[in-house]
């Protein structure tokens, strides 16, 4: 359950990051269109909100939110690293 | 008055303003938060130990807010007098309450 929550937050921040111009351009070669951007953003927020559920299921109402806060930070960190460190087709610098 | 004097005057005015804000943030801000800690501790009903703990927790946040306000206020003097009024109000509340019902 903890892992599920972590996967959801990582996916959430990945989607939110891809909704930004810079990262979308880097991965897909063009800025996101309005519809795409909305889809990515809504998907991201949905995944983020959804990640609360496994956290509370796994640890209850006191430790659940604490775990969730931790998983949000961890997921954000992983997504951040993935977006910035994994080389993409759009990179001109070596 | 030359342009240079004008610049120097403006610089000193700014430093004075910042000094006032620092005074507002640190000694005055702490005093205001502490006095509100006392006022809240007196105003909260119920167990006295509980009231004191709640008031202390709130007052820690008030310290930070006072410092933010000290720099956000339109001027240094405004920061000082607004915090002083807030402090005075809290002091009055605490004083009246302690005078009326005393302490444990």
């Amino acid at each position: 359950m903890n892992i599920v929550s972590l996967l959801l937050t990582t996916a959430a921040f990945g989607l939110l990051g891809l909704a930004t111009d810079a990262h979308h351009r880097r991965r897909f070669g063009h800025c996101p269109q309005a519809a795409q951007r909305r889809l990515l953003r809504n998907g991201g927020w949905l995944a983020l909100v959804g990640s609360v559920v496994p956290a509370i299921l796994s640890r209850g109402w006191i430790f659940g939110p604490i775990l969730w806060a931790g998983v949000v930070m961890a997921g954000a960190g992983i997504a951040f690293l993935a977006l910035n460190v994994i080389p993409a087709r759009g990179d001109t610098r070596s | 008055m030359t342009a240079g004097d004008g610049h120097a005057r403006a610089r000193w005015a700014r430093r004075g303003d910042i000094a006032l804000r620092v005074v507002a943030a640190v000694p005055l801000g702490y005093a205001t938060a502490s006095l509100w800690a006392m006022a809240i501790a007196r105003l909260l009903p119920g167990d006295r130990a509980e009231a004191s703990v709640t008031a202390s927790l709130v007052a820690l946040a008030l310290c930070a807010i006072a410092a933010i306000w000290a720099f956000a206020a339109r001027s240094g003097w405004r920061a000082i007098w607004t915090l002083a009024v807030a402090a005075g109000l809290a002091a009055a509340i605490a004083w009246i309450s302690i005078d009326a019902t005393g302490r444990v």
Binding site: T20, F80 | A37, S97, I98
Partner: protein, 530 residues
């Protein structure tokens, strides 16, 4: 949010962060390391074995104390766990007539302390402060009265809370910019790094700062108590209740086997115990108090059971705390993170590292930003030079001091008098030397040297452990002692990281600068938000 508000908070953020940043760096480094204090307590005593049977340690502790301090006023016995080096017990002797009473005075004395190891005997371990040094340092600092240190750290913590809030206000597109990381762009890259480490662990930073203030609340904000109480003892009795004290009778009576009481207490509490305090052992009025372990719940204020020391009958149970007291306890518990298992500890540790990097990058950002604006970069003004040198001395020097502290733990002779104090002196001596170099030599040279030295020492430690002790990484992995192995591995990783950092800094060639006009804008202090 108005532009004026954002600008004012930018100013507040920069200056509050700078002035207290060096102290906060020390607090964060020590506090982050302190999340592993139990492991370090063991790592720094390589002679002792892992505790497998806590009850055996307890029996040994009772036997030792019955021999050594049979007439003491009280014994304090921590219940050993797999993570602790044993039971670091201490006792309070009966006060001599006319002597001032008070527990705090004897806690530091070495002649009323002992460490009982896994086999129930006094542990033959090198004298060291272990991981406790880092825990204590991060609020008591060193070489100064603890009250001053706590006021200083408390003040710095409040400033940090203000810096975080003003940082959030001033950062216009805080979440949109989160994913941005511009490389090799000078000031912009430092800003992105500072923002990333700050925003990434923002929930942690807010939590750890505010809860840190809560741990020091009785010192920093006593006024709410003063408003309701005329003396502190009444409120302490209300918030930290204990069984009513009874007078020593003077009639000797054998103390019950503490293992029976510990087992019964753990059964009643439904959780492990952490502390056993025996008052008036050997007397008919002996009492045994058992506290539940803080590792088993969120709040740091754990339930307590008090037993009659002769018959083993339960005489008192602590009442459940009120909501406010429970909240404050939960906040202290959140700060210490003792409730967290290994995964949670790693998360706390990584967040602490993020916070440390946030502070360090903020300090460096200050100089990077201003260097780009200096009218003459070869003759910076005094303020700039002081900040730059202090950055090197603290951010470069303190980690080196810590590496030397660990080396001293391994290398100082076991028979050295006051060995534990000397390990700490070595930290400060190394740091002072590094700071001295930082103030005389050019920063561009000193940064990589200090990082390289730290890296070499940190990598050397696990190598030393493999070569010169029987507690090397592979041996510990073989017997499944993941804590010790983990510490060695983490030191090696940090050592490599410092070496890579040293190489990166040494190779850094600043981009050619545009020459700025001699007139600096008068509004340089109220800079626009980034």
């Amino acid at each position: 949010m108005s532009k004026g508000f954002r600008q004012s908070q930018a100013f507040l953020h920069t200056w509050s962060g700078l002035l207290l940043g060096w102290i906060l760096f020390l607090v964060f480094v020590a506090g982050t390391i302190a999340f592993w204090r139990e492991g370090l307590n063991r790592w720094m005593r390589p002679e002792i074995a892992r505790v497998e049977q806590p009850m055996r340690v307890l029996a040994g502790a009772q036997a030792y104390l019955a021999r050594k301090a049979p007439d003491a006023k009280s014994w304090i016995i921590p219940v050993a766990t797999k993570r602790s080096p044993g039971a670091q017990l201490f006792w309070v002797p009966q006060p001599k007539p006319g002597e001032e009473r008070g527990r705090g005075r004897s806690r530091g004395r070495r002649d009323t302390q002992a460490l009982i190891g896994a086999d129930g005997q006094v542990a033959q371990a090198r004298e060291t402060r272990g991981g406790e040094f880092f825990y204590r340092f991060h609020f008591d600092l060193h070489y100064m009265p603890v009250i001053w240190a706590r006021w200083l750290v408390g003040f710095a913590t409040m400033v940090m809370l203000v810096a975080i809030i003003s940082g959030i206000v001033t950062h216009k597109k805080i979440f949109k910019d989160f994913f941005t990381l511009r490389r090799a762009r000078g000031q912009r890259s430092w800003l992105d790094g500072h923002n990333a480490t700050a925003v990434l662990a923002l929930p942690f930073h807010l939590m750890i700062t505010y809860t840190g203030l809560v741990t020091l609340m009785t010192l920093l904000m006593p006024w709410a108590v003063v408003a309701n109480y005329t003396d502190q003892k009444t409120v302490f009795a209300a918030l930290f209740p204990t069984a009513a004290a009874i007078e020593r009778t003077g009639r000797p009576a054998p103390l019950i086997d503490l293992r029976r009481i510990a087992t019964d207490a753990q059964r009643r509490l439904g959780a492990p115990a952490s502390f056993i305090e025996v008052s008036d052992p050997g007397d008919a009025a002996a009492r045994v108090s058992v506290s539940q372990s803080a590792n088993s719940m969120l709040s740091s204020r754990t339930p307590q059971l008090t037993y009659d020391g002769v018959t083993g009958r339960l005489v008192w149970r602590s009442p459940p705390p009120g909501a406010a007291a429970e909240t404050a306890g939960a906040m202290v518990g959140l700060h210490a993170g003792r409730f967290a298992g290994n995964g949670g500890r790693w998360l706390y540790f990584l967040c602490g590292i993020a916070g440390t990097l946030m502070i360090a990058s903020g300090l460096v950002l200050w100089t990077v930003k201003r260097r780009e604006r200096l009218p003459d970069p070869t003759r910076p003004h005094v303020g700039f030079r002081v900040v730059e040198r202090l950055n090197v001395a603290v951010v470069g020097g303190f980690p080196l001091g810590i590496a030397c502290f660990f080396c001293a733990n391994r290398l100082l002779p076991v028979t050295l008098h006051a060995r534990a104090d000397w390990e700490v002196h070595m930290l400060f001596i190394a740091w002072a030397l590094a700071a001295a170099i930082a103030f005389v030599a050019r920063p561009a040279r000193v940064w990589p040297s200090l990082f390289a030295a730290t890296g070499v020492l940190l990598v050397a430690l696990p190598v030393y452990d493999v070569v010169a002790t029987d507690r090397g990484l592979f041996a510990m992995l073989a017997i499944g002692d993941l804590m010790i192995a983990g510490i060695d591995a983490t030191m090696a990783l940090f050592g490599i990281a410092f070496l890579l950092l040293a190489r990166r800094v040494a190779r850094h060639r600043p981009a050619a600068r545009r020459v700025r006009s001699a007139r600096t804008a008068p509004a340089a202090m109220l800079e626009p938000a980034e």
